[in-house]
Amino acid sequence: MIPVTWYMMLSAAIFCIGIFGFIARRNVIIMFISIELMLNAVNINLVAMSHYLQDMRGQILVFFIIAVAAAEAAIGLAIIISLFRNRATVHVDEIKEMEG
């Protein structure tokens, strides 16, 4: 039986990798993947807690998150493709349209 803290440490590690990837990288695809990593870190956490607390609600929530993440991924990729078509780049430093 693996203790629940291990799962949580795994989850925290993946989450931090996601944050690091999101902040440190300039390639918008990599940033996007980092966001997915953070989401899945949350999912791992939810499933582990659900099992630990013997409560199915956490797992149900995970299914919703996966479904929403799929939709979000589709939209996100569509935005990236559209961006690439217009600007011919995936490097975010070159995109500063919203500067005030």
Binding site: F22, I23, V92, D93, K96, E99, G100
Partner: protein
């Protein structure tokens, strides 16, 4: 008795006609607008006659139909009160209005804004009827202001013409001065009696002891103050000195408007107000004296100006002011029924004079009597009706003007003391002047040789039937309207005075100290004054003498120039009121109030918002990583804060 639907239709139909012509006139009805307007007011006239017949049988009507304002102790209704005074006014207003509607079909034919003209006329008729039929002071005030608005709109009917637009504004602004006092009077009435309903107020006045008050260091009593404030409104509306300056300028409007609004109906609203509020005025001899003197002064003042004016409409306008002075004078000596009687006869002959002048202008396309002459043979109907109207206004028997004017002069004479005799002397002098300037116009216009341009002479023609028929109908009124008030001296009962007795009381009984021979003498003097004026005008203007030039030359000093320039009242007002006002507007309101304070606030707020935004917008770098860093950093702060907070517990 209760108000019925029939009574509500009297003002209702003109209102309906206004709405129809106002909404659909410009696009769809256009040149057919007179059908709706004239039909509505004609039905109102029929209903008014029916109402008059009922009132003559002794029925009066009083009732509220709708609660207008209900706020705390203030309760004002829209309601109607139809008594003897209202019935007389109903007949005057609807008769003249109907005839003017008919006349305008010919006079305004093909004018631009034809439907607009009829819409305004209907609105005016509605407002005037609301004014006279009201059963409370606030509705009276509503009608009062609404007729003022219609007057403004119709004076400025030819709004492309700058002088017309200015005259409209002048009429409106001068009336503000009077109405300011009128409004204060209404406030005082409400404060004193706690209501604005006629019945409540007038029954409270019965036996009321007016408290003495001190106003700006003057010892007076409340009734005097209220009466004088109400009189302010009458001074403005009825163009009494010193607020008479707007009426001559109002002649910029179309002539039918001058006949309806600025001769027969609206300007007499002031006299109506005096008669309606007679209970208040009777409490204050001081206020009555002010009213009488104002009336006498106005009638003399305007008559002298009328002597030398050359614009046919302006002469008649000054004549109107002068006759209004007569009516106010009558009210001032307590002879309200005589004042209203003169109002009623004056409506016919003065409307006739104006419509006749309109007919002349229609033919000559000029208003200057120096460019007229010899029109008698070209336009017989106009000339004859104009003659009769002038005989009537000059007070020659047995025409309508004689009876009303004589009654006023007699009641002024017999009102007591040297004060009454002075009023009578002024009135008689004015009667002489009236006959003189009226026939000066006639001899200059209809007799002698045509003095206008030669090519115009071939185009002189009588006006169409829609214009001459109203002239003839009004002429019947100018002849016969006075016969309902034949004097008691001639062995008749004075039906008119008896009829109005329930509303305005009776004065003749108080003047029992005068003999019949004196009354005959007054009558003879007033007729002689009229004939003398007629004769002098004939001698000066018809008998081709050089008298006018010599007279003008002899008087070329002060009096002639004083009369010709209307006593320089406009110039004095310009100097005393208009210029300081414009100075204050330009140098204080525009530069300081508007330029610094209002502009400062209005422009300052957006400017400072803009400045702050310029500074804050730097936070929006557009770089995705800055946003991400802020999110993560904020997340850590929130975690840390929640841990500290949890640890604290």
């Amino acid at each position: 008795m209760e108000i019925t639907n029939m009574h509500m239709l009297i003002p209702g139909l003109p209102l309906l006609a206004f709405l129809i012509n106002g909404l659909f006139g410009a696009r769809w009805i256009k040149q057919e607008a007179h059908w709706i307007a004239a039909l509505a007011v004609a039905v109102s006239w029929v209903l008014s006659v029916m109402t008059l017949l009922k009132v003559m049988q002794g029925h009066t009507y009083y009732g509220d139909i709708y609660t207008w304002i209900s706020s705390g102790g203030l309760r004002v209704s829209v309601g109607f009160s139809i008594d003897e005074l209202t019935a007389v006014m109903l007949i005057v207003v609807t008769t003249v209005s109907t005839l003017v509607h008919l006349y305008s079909v010919g006079y305004m034919h093909g004018e631009e804004g034809y439907s607009r003209f009829y819409a305004y006329l209907s609105l005016f008729t509605f407002s005037m009827l609301m004014l006279i039929m009201s059963n409370n002071f606030l509705q009276l005030y509503f009608g009062w202001e609404a007729v003022g608005l219609c007057s403004y709109l119709l004076i400025g009917f030819y709004h492309q013409k700058e002088s017309a637009a200015r005259a409209g504004m002048k009429a409106f602004i001068v009336n503000r001065f009077g109405d300011f006092g009128f409004a204060l009077g209404l406030f005082l009435i409400y404060l004193t009696f706690g209501s604005l309903d006629y019945q409540t107020v007038f029954s409270a006045i019965d036996g009321w002891q007016s408290p003495a008050i001190s106003l700006l260091g003057l010892e007076t009593d409340l009734a005097t103050v209220i009466a004088l404030l109400l009189f302010c409104g009458a001074v403005g509306k009825s163009a009494q000195v010193p607020l008479h300056v707007w009426l001559p300028d109002a002649m910029e409007g179309p002539t039918p408007v001058s006949a309806l609004i600025h001769a027969a109906t609206m300007v007499t609203a002031g006299v109506f107000l005096l008669a309606r509020c007679n209970a208040i005025f009777n409490l204050s001899p001081a206020a009555m004296a002010v009213v009488a003197v104002t009336g006498a002064l106005t009638s003399l003042f305007a008559a002298t100006i009328a002597l030398v004016q050359n614009d046919i409409k302006r002469v008649i306008a000054y004549s109107t002011i002068s006759q209004l002075g007569y009516m106010v004078l009558a009210c001032g000596v307590g002879a309200y029924s005589a004042g209203v009687f003169h109002l009623y006869t004056h409506a016919f002959f003065k409307a006739l004079l104006f419509l006749g002048a309109g007919s002349v202008i229609h033919a000559v396309h000029d208003q200057d009597i120096r460019n007229m002459g010899g029109l008698f043979k070209h336009m017989k109907i106009t000339a004859i009706t104009f003659w009769i109207a002038s005989l009537s206004i000059s007070g020659l028997p047995p025409l309508a003007g004689f009876f009303s004017k004589d009654e006023i002069l007699w009641l002024a004479y017999s009102s007591g003391g040297s004060f009454g005799k002075m009023l009578w002397a002024t009135g008689t002098l004015v009667a002489f002047l009236t006959a003189f300037y009226s026939f000066r116009v006639i001899f200059r216009t209809f007799h002698g040789e045509f003095r206008g341009e030669v090519e115009k002479k071939d185009h002189l023609h009588e006006s169409p039937a829609s214009m001459t028929i109203p002239l003839m109908l009004l002429c019947a009124g100018a002849v016969g309207a006075g016969w309902i008030g034949l004097p008691a001296l001639w062995g008749f009962e004075n039906h008119f005075a008896e009829f109005l007795k329930p509303v305005v009381g009776h004065v003749a009984a108080e003047h029992g100290n005068y003999s019949h021979s004196e009354e005959w003498m007054i009558m003879a003097i007033s007729v002689a004054a009229g004939l003398l004026g007629l004769g002098l005008a004939w001698a000066m203007y018809a008998r081709k003498t050089d008298l006018p030039e010599r007279a003008a030359g002899a008087m070329s000093g002060v009096p002639y120039r004083l009369f010709f320039n209307k006593y320089y009242v406009d110039e004095i007002y310009d100097y005393l009121i208009i210029r300081p006002t414009v100075w204050v507007a330009k140098n204080i309101l525009v530069t300081v109030t508007d330029g610094l304070i209002i502009e400062g606030i209005v422009n300052g707020i957006p400017r400072s918002i803009g400045r702050i935004s310029q500074w804050i917008r730097k936070a929006q770098s557009g770089v995705l990583h800055h946003y991400a860093a802020v999110i993560v950093f904020g997340f850590f702060i929130m975690i840390a804060a929640s841990l500290i907070w949890a640890g604290g517990n």
